[in-house]
Amino acid sequence: MAQHEVTHKREVWSGRSVFIMAAIGSAVGLGNIWRFPYIAYENGGGAFLIPYLVALLTAGIPLLFLDYAIGHKFRGAPPLAFRRLRRGAEFIGWWQVLVCFVIGVYYAVIVAWALRYTFFSLTEAWGDDPEGFLIEDFLQQDGDATFGLSFVPGVAWTLLLVWIAVLGVLALGVQRGIGNANRFFVPLLVLLFAVLVVRSLTLEGATDGLNAFFSPDWSALTDTGVWIAAYGQIFFSLSVAFGIMVTYSSYLKRKTNLTGSGLVVGFSNSSFEVLAGIGVFSALGFMAQAQGVQISEVVAGGIGLAFIAFPAIISSMPGGPFFGVLFFGSLVFAGFTSMISIIQVTVSAFQDKTGMSKVPAVLAVGGVSAIVSLLLFPTTTGLNTLDVVDRFANQFGIVGVAFVALVVVAWIYRRLPELRDHLNSVSSFKIGAGWMFFTGILTPILLGYMLFSEIRDRIRDGYGGLPDSLVLAFGWSVQAAVIVLAVVLSFIPWRKGIDLEYELDENRPLTPSATDGTSSGGTQ
């Protein structure tokens, strides 16, 4: 393997603080704000904290470490990293890339909605009927649950702006684009959300909301479903196991404290989630009191929380427009920094495989993503399409590829000991048998159970009362196509001159051609 090569320079973060900020920007997304509070409330309230903490420590952070180890040791986006891990594993990398592609094309749409709602907040454009405004006036859904191509201009042009901004950041590169964007947007997000939480806490009824959110239902701890929900929340929230953290860690310098950085990222993400729970439930407490109803009658999650419940809250409070700008601005910034990371995975994988330089790769891969996004979602049937694609991409795509990746890495190729040693060779927080057990045994079992349950339920029940044809086309077929295409892409030859055997080894001295992190090739 003593091949020397100097191929195109791999970009590199200027320091670990930039990487940590980018990783936090990726992990803290829409799900932190609109999913965690609802999941926690529905699964035992305050008692949910216990399975949530256990899940963070036994699955979230260990998987984060695993992603960092793969990306840092094998120095590539998922296809190259898994190819270097073992020839037969490349398809897993492409599977992750294609899951990112699918998520990216609809995630941008929600960021676009949030952007429009930031401006709608100024005039409370939804009037006294936020639901009617969202479905009929803004999204112009035709009530027909099939698929169509009638465009909604108000959504389409905002979506175009989002794509231009995302691709613009990516075109500037890892440090100048992604790094600087996160150094600006992540602190801004924290600041905006902190102000929002303070304002929420001063509303009448806020303590009722917090009481509902934190009151523990201890019986939930004996419910298996609650524990699965906790692992699911941690898993989806941390941006692990679908290529993002592999890609981001591939830009780290040779000696970077991987586990120390991972602890900061993992706890930052969860800290923000708790902050979001406090802000959201304080606001919901206010809404319940204003309407004279129980908290349970106003609790919602996802799109219903963000685009129906919050507009109603904004309209009910003094200084509503200011609060609305804080809330929807937070959604935009949280979504934007996550969106950047998702699309970077696809761009970086394409660059690794073809050797294409940055800007053409961004225009090619990002351009295709943008076109697909613009064709499918800003339409009069886009809401249902988005709902189906989102469900399957998360519960089948992410869970499926994570499960397969862990089984292949831990059990078929048995590379966990080597990855553990790599983490320990560069990190201050040492890991051992516990990490091996969590990543090699506990998490695969949980993911396998989640995957099996989802497949069983979707086959038996369909999804959300939507037509089977829509679920088949945008759920099952998309995910099946992703797997088939991943296998096909793994057979396409790599660009000439790339060292497919390269791996970072702390015990070997540096050579001129293996300057750390700056060459996608290297010396073994």
Binding site: G15, R16, G45, G46, A47, L49, L53, T207, L210, N211, F213, F214, S215, P216, K253, R254, K255, T256, N257, G260, S261, L263, V264, G266, F267, S268, S270, S271, V274, I278, S428, F429, D516
Partner: protein, 36 residues
Amino acid sequence: MSGAAIGMMFLALITLWGGLLLSILHLRRHPDDPDA
């Protein structure tokens, strides 16, 4: 708020934000090699 709710809120803040604080302090005590 009930006592149990207040207790769980503080427990959440202490464990998660405390974990964040400890992990930041740990990282600061182990700076990366600037030449690596």
